[in-house]
C-alpha cells in the first residue's frame, strides 16, 4: 500500500514543467557508481489488509497483559488507563502536528504543553518543568550533566539503589563527558542507601547527589538528609521520582530538591514493551531554569492582547546555540506528555490521591499474603510504596514460566542484578483482591 497520490498524467506534467524526460535525471548528481541498480532486498509491499494480518500474527506471538494478570513493575507499570485519553490523542491535530514552531496555528499543542508543565511542577512541588525528555533515565542523565555545568564540578554521586538500567544510562552519558561517578552502597538490612557511606564522600567536589524515591526495591529513602548534606557543600540535590507515588509522598520541592526527574509512563501511557514513555524534568530558580535542557512553553499575548503560548527560552537550545546548547535534545515525547497531562486532569485532585492510596494498600495487602507462604521472606525493612522485594530459595525465572501458563506474569527476578532468589513485585490499583489471592495460592503451590 503506497501513499503516493501522483498519477501518471500529473507526473508527465511535472516532468514537462521541468523540461526533463524522466525522474532519474533529477538524481544525475549522484555518482553513477554508487547508485543502486537493483531493488532493496526487502519484502514486497503489503496491502492494508495484508499488513493487518501480519501484525495480528506477530501480536499473537506475544502474551499481552489483557490476557494475563501482571505483578511486574520495575519501571513499567500496569495502571488503569482512562479511556478518554486515547480518544483525545488520536485526534489528527495532536497526532500529526510537528513541534509548534508556528505558534499562531499551534495553540492546541502549546497550551496543552503549558498545562503539562504546570501539572508536573505541581506534583513535584517545583517551580518549572520542561516540555519532556525521552524517558526517566535520560532525564536523570541530563540532570546530572546540568548539575555539573551549574556547579562546574565533575563528580556525581549515584545511589546503588537506583534502577540498574538508569545507572547504565547515566554512566554512559557521564563518562562521555568525563564526569566521575561515586556510588553509594546500600544497607543490606534496610534496602536503603547506607548512611555510613555518606561519610566517605568528598562532598565539596560533588556536583550533585541523586536519590531515587521510591528506590529500585520500592523502598522509601531518607531523601531529606541527603539533600541537606549536598546543600551544605554547594552541590545540587536531584530526585528521581515515581509520579504516581507523589500523590502520597512528600513533594521533592518540599525536600529541597533542585532538579526532579522521573518517568511518566505510569501516567496513562501504554506500557508498549517499554516505550515510548516520557521523562519529566522540573527545577526551580531562574538560574537553573536557564540551564535546563529541552523545550519549554511560555505564556505571552498576541497583538490584540489575548493570552497565547509560545516556545520560549530557546537560546538554551541546540538550534540556536549549537554546541553551546544545554543539551542536544530536539524532538521530545510531546504526545506522551499530552497523555500524562490528560491523565492527571481526568484523575484530578482526588482521583490522583486515590490511585496512590490504592496502590499502597493493595501492595501492602499483597505483601502480607505472599509472606504467608512458607520459605518466602521480606529481605528489606524499610517502608515501601507499590513495589517490594521478596526472597526465597527458588528459581524465579522458572516459576514465572509456570505462572505465565496459569495466566499470571510474576515479579521481576533480581538474579540478573546480583540478587539470586530475590524477586521484585509491583501492585497497582488495577489489581483486585481476587487476583492477588489466586496468585498467592498458585505461588504457594509452586514453592
Amino acid at each position: 500500500m503506497r501513499y503516493i497520490p501522483l498519477t501518471q498524467a500529473e507526473k508527465q506534467e511535472m516532468l514537462d514543467t521541468l523540461g526533463i524526460s524522466s525522474v532519474q535525471e533529477l538524481f544525475d548528481d549522484i555518482p553513477q557508481h554508487i547508485r543502486l541498480d537493483t531493488d532493496l532486498d526487502l519484502p514486497e509491499a503489503l496491502t492494508e489488509a495484508e499488513l493487518v494480518k501480519h501484525f495480528q500474527a506477530l501480536a499473537q506471538k506475544n502474551t499481552d497483559l489483557n490476557s494475563v494478570v501482571s505483578f511486574m513493575g520495575a519501571g513499567a507499570y500496569d495502571h488503569l488507563i482512562p479511556s478518554a485519553i486515547k480518544h483525545i490523542v488520536g485526534r489528527g491535530e495532536f497526532l500529526t502536528a510537528y513541534t509548534p514552531y508556528q505558534a499562531e496555528i499551534s495553540q492546541g499543542v502549546l497550551q496543552s504543553t503549558f498545562e503539562y508543565q504546570s501539572l508536573i511542577a505541581e506534583i513535584t512541588g517545583m517551580e518549572v518543568a520542561n516540555a519532556s525528555m525521552y524517558d526517566g533515565a535520560t532525564a536523570l542523565a541530563e540532570a546530572c550533566l546540568m548539575a555539573c555545568a551549574a556547579t562546574r564540578r565533575e563528580l556525581v554521586v549515584l545511589p546503588s539503589t537506583l534502577h540498574p538500567e538508569w545507572q547504565e544510562v547515566v554512566k554512559l552519558y557521564l563518562e562521555n563527558q568525563d564526569v566521575q561517578i561515586a556510588y553509594l552502597p546500600y544497607d543490606g538490612q534496610t534496602g536503603l542507601i547506607d548512611a555510613q557511606a555518606l561519610e566517605g564522600v568528598n562532598w565539596s567536589e560533588v556536583a550533585c547527589v541523586v536519590v531515587q524515591q521510591p528506590n529500585f526495591f520500592g523502598l522509601l529513602e531518607n531523601a531529606a538528609c541527603l539533600g541537606e548534606r549536598i546543600h551544605e557543600h554547594g552541590g545540587l540535590f536531584i530526585m528521581a521520582v515515581d509520579p504516581i507515588s507523589l500523590s502520597v509522598l512528600k513533594a521533592p520541592g518540599e525536600l529541597g530538591a533542585d532538579i526532579v526527574v522521573g518517568d511518566g509512563q505510569s501516567l496513562g501511557n501504554a506500557m508498549g514493551f517499554g516505550g515510548p514513555s516520557l521523562g519529566f524534568f522540573a527545577t526551580s530558580g531562574s538560574k537553573l531554569v536557564r540551564r535546563m535542557p529541552g523545550r519549554v512553553v511560555g505564556e505571552t499575548v498576541d497583538t490584540e492582547g489575548r493570552r497565547g503560548f509560545v516556545l520560549t527560552l530557546q537560546t538554551r537550545e541546540q538550534h540556536i546555540r549549537r554546541e553551546k546548547a544545554t543539551s542536544n535534545i530536539c524532538s521530545n515525547q510531546a504526545l506522551n506528555a499530552l497523555v500524562a497531562a490528560i491523565y492527571l486532569n481526568i484523575l484530578g485532585k482526588e482521583g490522583y490521591q486515590e490511585v496512590g492510596n490504592h496502590c499502597l494498600q493493595k501492595a501492602h495487602y499483597f505483601k502480607q499474603q505472599i509472606l504467608t507462604i512458607d520459605g518466602l521472606s521480606s529481605p528489606f525493612s524499610a517502608p515501601s510504596f507499590r513495589e517490594f522485594v521478596i526472597q526465597g530459595d527458588v528459581d524465579w525465572e522458572e516459576i514465572n514460566l509456570k505462572l505465565l501458563e496459569k495466566g499470571f506474569l510474576g515479579g521481576l527476578p533480581l538474579d540478573r542484578y546480583g540478587l539470586p532468589g530475590h524477586v521484585l513485585f509491583s501492585v497497582t490499583e488495577a489489581r483486585t483482591k481476587e487476583e492477588m489471592d489466586t496468585f498467592t495460592t498458585l505461588l504457594r503451590g509452586l514453592i
Binding site: 483525545i88 501504554a270 517499554g274 516505550g275 515510548p276 486532569n345
Partner: protein, 486 residues
C-alpha cells in the same frame, strides 16, 4: 465577541470536589496510611490538580485541538521535517494489545512477536542503509546522533586513538549535530560550503588531521542538495582515519536510490518520525535508530535482538558502549516504521524518494522567479529559497511565513539553514496531491505580489488564525512557564 476564542486553562475550569474518573472500590482491608508510611515521607499538601469531569476534559482538548494545525488538517511543507501522511492503519496495528500491553521484562518466550519485529526492522534498516547492524534504542534523531557519536568515540578509543576529538561539521548542518558533539566532548570543526552548496573540498582537506574523529554530514544537505563530491569527501576523511556519520534526517530523498553505506558512511541515524512516517505527535515521540558498519557493530548499545534457530533473543554486542535509554527504545513508534516499510516494499520506497524529489523540483522551478534561489541545481526532496528580494521591500521571511498561515498552510521552515539569508526551506513530500502543490505555489506567488502591493498586510499577518502574532520576546523576557494558583 470575536471568532478568536481563547480556551481557558484546564486549571481555570476546575471546581472543588469534581471528579473525572473513579476507581473500583478498594477491595482489600484499608490500613491507615501512616501505619504504612512514616509521617516524614508523607505529602503534606495534596497537589492542586484540576477538578474536572470527563466531559470537561474531552471538551477542553477537543477545543484545543481545533486551534491546531496538523498534516491531517492541511499542507505542512516544513523543510527538514518530512511532514508526510501518517497512514491510519499503522496506528491500528501498533495499538493491538499484543504490542501496546506487553511488559519489557516479560520472559523472552512470551514476547517472540515483539522481538521478531525488532529483528526484522533492524535488518531492514541495515539493508536500506547498506550497512551491517542496527540499534533501535535512540528515541529521536538527536539521540541517534548521540548514540552514533558515542560508538565512534568508543571505536577510536578501542583502537588506541582516544585522542581523536575533532568532529567536522559543515556550516549548513542542523543544530543537533554540533550539540551532540558537545555531549560526547568532541570539538566541533566547522567546514565551509562551496558555491554549489556542498562541502568545500579544498577547505575540508585542510581541516582534517590526526585529531579528526570524523565528519557529520546530511546528504542531501540542509539545502536539499546532494553533495556530488561525496566519494571524495569520504575518501579524505577515511584517509586520515576518521569516520563518516550520516544524519539521515534527509533520507526521504535516497530510499532505494543510493545507500549511505555506499557513499562511504560508517554510521547513519534515521528519523523514523520523518522518512518512515511515524506521526510527530506535536514534537514527539520520535525514533532514531542507527545502522553502522561491520567495524562499528560490536560497539552498539545493547540489547539488540539476535536470531538463534527459530527463536529471537536479546543480546549485548561485544564491546557495547552500554545503554542509552531504558528498555528497548520507542518500540511502539518504530513498530509503525516497520509497518511503513512493509506497506511500501522495495519499489514503493524508491517511488517515495523519486516522487518526493520530483515534487520539490517542480515547486522550486515554479517559484524561483518570485523568490531568490541561492543555488540553481536540481534539488532533492526539499529546497531552500531566500526572502532577500522581499526583505528589500520591508518584508521579512517571518512575515511571509505568518501570512501563509492565513491561507490554511503551515509555513515552511524559516531561517534555516543558517548559511542562507532569510531562508525559506520547503519540503512538499511525496504524499501530497499535485493540486495542493499548485495551490500552495499560487499562495506563495500571491504573497510575493502582496509584498510589493501591500507589505503591511504581511508584516501584520497572520489575520485569520485563532490568535494573531504572538509576542515571543515578551515570553522570553518575563517567562511565565506555568499556571499559578492565584
Amino acid at each position: 465577541m470575536t471568532t478568536k476564542r481563547v480556551v481557558p486553562l484546564i486549571f481555570e475550569r476546575s471546581t472543588p470536589g469534581r471528579r473525572g474518573y473513579r476507581l473500583p472500590a478498594l477491595d482489600v482491608p484499608e490500613v491507615s496510611i501512616d501505619q504504612l508510611i512514616p509521617q516524614e515521607h508523607l505529602r503534606t499538601q495534596p497537589a492542586e490538580l484540576p477538578e474536572v469531569s470527563e466531559l470537561e476534559v474531552i471538551r477542553h482538548y477537543t477545543q484545543l485541538s481545533r486551534l491546531n494545525h496538523g498534516v491531517d488538517v492541511g499542507f505542512y511543507p516544513l523543510g527538514s521535517c518530512t511532514m508526510k501522511y501518517n497512514p491510519r492503519v499503522h496506528e491500528d496495528v501498533t495499538s493491538l494489545p499484543g504490542f501496546a500491553a506487553i511488559h519489557p521484562y516479560q520472559p523472552e518466550s512470551s514476547v517472540q512477536g515483539a522481538l521478531e519485529l525488532m529483528y526484522n526492522l533492524s535488518e531492514y534498516l541495515a539493508i536500506i542503509s547498506g550497512l551491517e547492524a542496527t540499534t533501535l534504542q535512540p528515541a529521536a534523531g538527536a539521540h541517534g546522533e548521540l548514540a552514533g557519536l558515542m560508538v565512534i568515540k568508543a571505536f577510536h578509543a578501542h583502537n588506541g586513538e582516544g585522542h581523536r576529538n575533532e568532529m567536522l561539521i559543515p556550516d549548513s548542518a542542523h543544530g543537533t549535530n554540533p550539540a551532540s558533539c558537545a555531549m560526547v566532548g568532541y570539538k566541533v570543526v566547522e567546514v565551509p560550503s562551496d558555491d554549489r552548496g556542498g562541502v568545500d573540498v579544498e577547505a575540508l582537506k585542510k581541516l582534517v588531521g590526526p585529531n579528526t574523529a570524523g565528519l557529520m554530514l546530511t546528504n542531501p544537505n540542509t539545502l536539499g542538495l546532494f553533495d556530488e563530491n561525496i566519494c571524495t569527501i569520504s575518501q579524505i576523511v577515511h584517509d586520515v582515519g576518521g569516520l563518516l556519520y550520516y544524519d539521515g534526517a534527509n533520507a526521504n530523498a535516497i530510499l532505494g536510490i543510493v545507500r549511505p553505506g555506499d557513499m562511504g558512511f560508517d554510521v547513519v541515524h534515521y528519523n523514523l518520525h520523518k522518512t518512515f512516517s511515524t506521526p510527530h505527535g506535536g514534537g514527539g515521540p520520535g525514533s532514531g535508530p542507527i545502522s553502522v558498519s561491520k567495524d562499528l557493530a560490536p560497539f552498539l548499545p545493547g540489547p539488540v535482538v539476535r536470531k538463534e534457530g527459530d527463536k529471537y533473543v536479546f543480546a549485548t554486542p561485544e564491546h557495547s558502549i552500554g545503554r542509552l535509554k531504558s528498555f528497548y527504545g520507542n518500540f511502539l513508534v518504530y513498530a509503525k516504521a516497520y509497518a511503513y516499510i512493509l506497506s511500501h516494499g522495495p519499489q514503493g520506497l524508491r517511488e517515495v524518494s523519486e516522487i518526493a524529489v520530483l515534487h520539490a523540483n517542480y515547486m522550486m522551478r515554479r517559484l524561483q522567479d518570485v523568490y531568490y534561489l541561492p543555488v540553481d541545481r536540481h534539488c532533492k526532496h526539499e529546497f531552500v529559497l531566500s526572502g532577500m528580494w522581499q526583505k528589500e521591500l520591508g518584508v521579512r521571511t517571518t512575515d511571509i511565513a505568518k501570512r501563509l498561515l492565513d491561507y490554511g498552510y503551515h509555513a515552511p521552515t524559516v531561517y534555516f539553514p543558517l548559511i542562507v539569508d532569510e531562508a525559506i526551506m520547503i519540503e512538499p513530500t511525496e504524499t501530497e496531491p499535485k493540486s495542493t502543490l499548485d495551490e500552495f505555489i499560487e499562495a506563495m506567488r500571491a504573497i510575493a505580489q502582496e509584498a510589493k502591493d501591500n507589505p503591511e498586510n504581511l508584516t501584520s499577518a497572520p489575520h485569520h488564525t485563532p490568535v494573531t502574532r504572538l509576542d515571543e520576546s515578551r515570553a522570553a523576557r518575563q517567562p511565565i512557564l506555568r499556571w499559578q494558583k492565584s
